[in-house]
Symmetry: C2
Subunit: 410 residues, 2 copies
Amino acid sequence: MTENAAQNDPPTPLALPRGIRFAGAAGGIKASGKPDVSLIVTDRPAVMAGVYTTNQIVAAPVVLTRSKTPTSTGRVVLTNSGNANACTGEPGMQDAKAMCDLAAKLTGCDASDVMVMSTGVIGQPLPMEKVRAGIEDAAGKLGDSEADFLASADAICTTDQFRKTVSQTVVLRGHEYRIAAMCKGAGMIAPNMATMLGVVMTDAPIGPDAAQASLKLIANETFNRVSVDGHTSTNDTVMLVCTGMSESDGIEEFGPDELAVWQEVATQVALQLAKMLVADGEGAARFFEVRVSGAANDEDALVIAKTVAASPLVKTAITGGDPNWGRIVSAAGYAGPKIQPERTCLVMDGVMVFENGTPLSIDAAKLSQAMKANSEVLADLKVGDGTGKASFWASDLTEAYVRFNSLYTT
Amino acid sequence: MTENAAQNDPPTPLALPRGIRFAGAAGGIKASGKPDVSLIVTDRPAVMAGVYTTNQIVAAPVVLTRSKTPTSTGRVVLTNSGNANACTGEPGMQDAKAMCDLAAKLTGCDASDVMVMSTGVIGQPLPMEKVRAGIEDAAGKLGDSEADFLASADAICTTDQFRKTVSQTVVLRGHEYRIAAMCKGAGMIAPNMATMLGVVMTDAPIGPDAAQASLKLIANETFNRVSVDGHTSTNDTVMLVCTGMSESDGIEEFGPDELAVWQEVATQVALQLAKMLVADGEGAARFFEVRVSGAANDEDALVIAKTVAASPLVKTAITGGDPNWGRIVSAAGYAGPKIQPERTCLVMDGVMVFENGTPLSIDAAKLSQAMKANSEVLADLKVGDGTGKASFWASDLTEAYVRFNSLYTT
């Protein structure tokens, strides 16, 4: 897309999973003329799993794709950007099905093996002529080069400032398995809400049930731990594609130990994407990590971390480079889970500012300067003597965010 | 305080409950020299009840006052602004007790009958010499005039743009009972967090248990239904003071039916205060009400209303005068309680924009103009066929809010 995109791309050569072709095309769904149709096609039937938005108001493509996963006969992940096909009623469902039909016809598979995702404006019918033109164009350009992969990653973006891709290898059984992944930004975007979409692809041999279980765990540790503004979209989807077409093709599926190793690497890949997504949050100036320990259990720690990260007061303090322990500690206090106020400690960027319920005398101006000099801020909060811990990543809250989102757009 | 204050004061003559004297004084806790000590003293032992912050990080005055209510021997409500006496450890508790001791001595009662509240900076020791000076000054100025009442209301403010008072009468048994109330703003304020404090006073004959139960219900319908930024403070407190010293003094306490009538009026008084509090939210440009109906029950409706009101995307749309149904409907979708998407309808300021899950064709520009022309916006959201309903009031989210709260202040 832009110079920005190049800066954020992973180092080449990319470790693209074998057995997958990619394409991006501009069908004209976006008025800007930017790419808006992405195709990911496996050479042979592949395992595909998905995790989806928990919003009860849910877009047609989510309903349709959700009904098809997990599967071991998946062939296509088709994405359009520029229109979310959400709140579009029965005609929207017909459009989503028509997209699958066309992609199936052009790639020589069954429509039931095509997964579809959409992102963009909600409440408007898909411009199907343009969608069809984009799909046809993309189908004619499928390839397995790095340029093809990046083109498909470009085409899922909406107001993202840069495309988001990560690739990584993991060696098991003496073979190199590849993982490549892309996502597009959450965080809310004119003219309506945007969506987090992601695709994690691998040539590792993983069965459909294992893939579904693994994807859920991966998403819980990564995409479910980041927030721009806490607004859950109608379209959020992450797909996992496993072609199994590695050097060890034909060998049996991963056992539990192998899967655990693969999953650890895939989680790191997804975490890198998730952090990019926060860094690209609308209007975001600074990125912060809330690390909670000492809670009764991990679930409690996550609730506390999420509550701290969601507080507008905390977010604006981060924007201002303000080591404002009062806002962070008090957010932990209203999060819900039991904490031990007299055992609560807070370390901001390596400086303890609050110890066992008592503020410490610190050089606040110096700490603020250090925070302002970094694009990332770490708040390390201990809330008691428990063993529960969790991390959460969030963008700050800036005037630019408000400006973007208060522009008249309907 | 200012011209603003005069504009927002209730019409005179105020219906001040009999048997209460008031004062405000400037002890110098605030560097600005503005009033920072408020005294409310009953002529005789009075019923006092309280509801308090649910934050686990809780200020010393809350711990102390909470242990004294409900009571039928209350005499004093003492408030200081400019310093919250929160996160101040055991010395903070000693200071809170010393405040009660001094007020008791000056007004001729027992320290156990003095309720204390604090608001302002957290994590700093109270400047006790200044606090003492303020209490002594206030005790010397106690009076039952309207000016005295307004002076005590001024003295509880922090960065409030205007003082907040309401008064009302209710006639029962052929007698006029009076209700007067004051509060200071929630919404978050430099240099740290601020607090919602409120005092509802009446000369009605209500016993301690009935007062406590009634205050809880009143607060749940009013102060617990407003939000500036959802950050619960360490100091939030609302007190109910019932002197019983009305024209019907000596007659028995209100029965259930009389109490219900009184409570209805007191709820309206508290609701007016609560709305003022939102209107004075930091950086707030526009005020909005979310009215949810059709939920399975009232609790579900409240969760949905609160979630919609807390969404930064919804808040920024309100700021922009944008009838953005997608943001509101999708916030309802992720709130948690079950909704019926195909039965969901949204009316913005009297214009139906979304009906039974389908967007309507509306003149969005005209509706936006109407929204922009008003300082209040009403979103009326039906989420199904249930009987549950609830209202919630919130401020919008402006660049000014972010600017205020991201200034370096520690």
